[in-house]
Symmetry: C2
Subunit: 109 residues, 2 copies
DNA sequence: GTCCCTATATATAAATA
DNA sequence: TTATTTATATATAGGGA
């Protein structure tokens, strides 16, 4: 999709990796939104940049009614331990123990 | 990206909506994976079809070590109340009350 | 549904400013 | 760096079997 064909492996040059990230992130978000609209389905997309920043798209129209995770994190740079924590909790969904959940709940609500 | 240009609104014909869903879902998954590899970032994508089926991609390499939500749901068709529940819990992340969490935890673990 | 085909729209790599 | 341009690779709409 460009002047040259690209190999599917990590782009080693930091500068072009950043440029590609920015372009493809935009493209992916756009396509996620299109899929939601065209096919009338719910789509969610989350991307953690290597800077630890969270980019998120969700087609859930009710989103605004609820406490948004995004509002708590998207403007922060997270350390990698936090990233791992969030990934486990959100993407991989290891249940927290009830005691750990109680603690989390108290810090969030 | 095809013989005709498409308007960004719900495809009303059920059959072509289904075909478009299948094609674009595949494309989106592929691009999510490419972004993760090329730019060395974590990407997660979740799609609920209108049949209530969950399709999921996550670049988190540690995934297999943990209990996967996918293994519990991706082969099932969920009623819309369940979809809404999962969307709230996962995408929008309304915290459950500790009591409700305790109940969920017991049914999951 | 479901798989192919292929003309066309779109995304984007590399160049350029 | 950060935009903008443009040539090219890729995705996919519409169609047929």
């Amino acid at each position: 999709m460009g002047r040259g064909k690209v190999q599917l492996k990590r782009i080693e040059d930091k500068s072009s990796r950043q440029v590609t990230f920015s372009k493809r992130k935009g493209g992916l978000m756009k396509k996620a939104r299109e899929l939601g609209v065209l096919c009338d389905v719910e789509v969610a997309l989350m991307i953690f940049s290597d800077q630890g920043r969270l980019y998120e798209f969700s087609s859930a129209e009710r989103k605004k009614k609820y406490l948004s995770f995004e509002s708590r994190t998207s403007r922060k740079y997270l350390p990698s331990s936090k990233i791992r924590y969030y990934l486990r909790r959100i993407f991989i969904r290891v249940p927290l123990s009830p005691a750990a959940y109680q603690y989390q709940y108290e810090t969030l609500v």
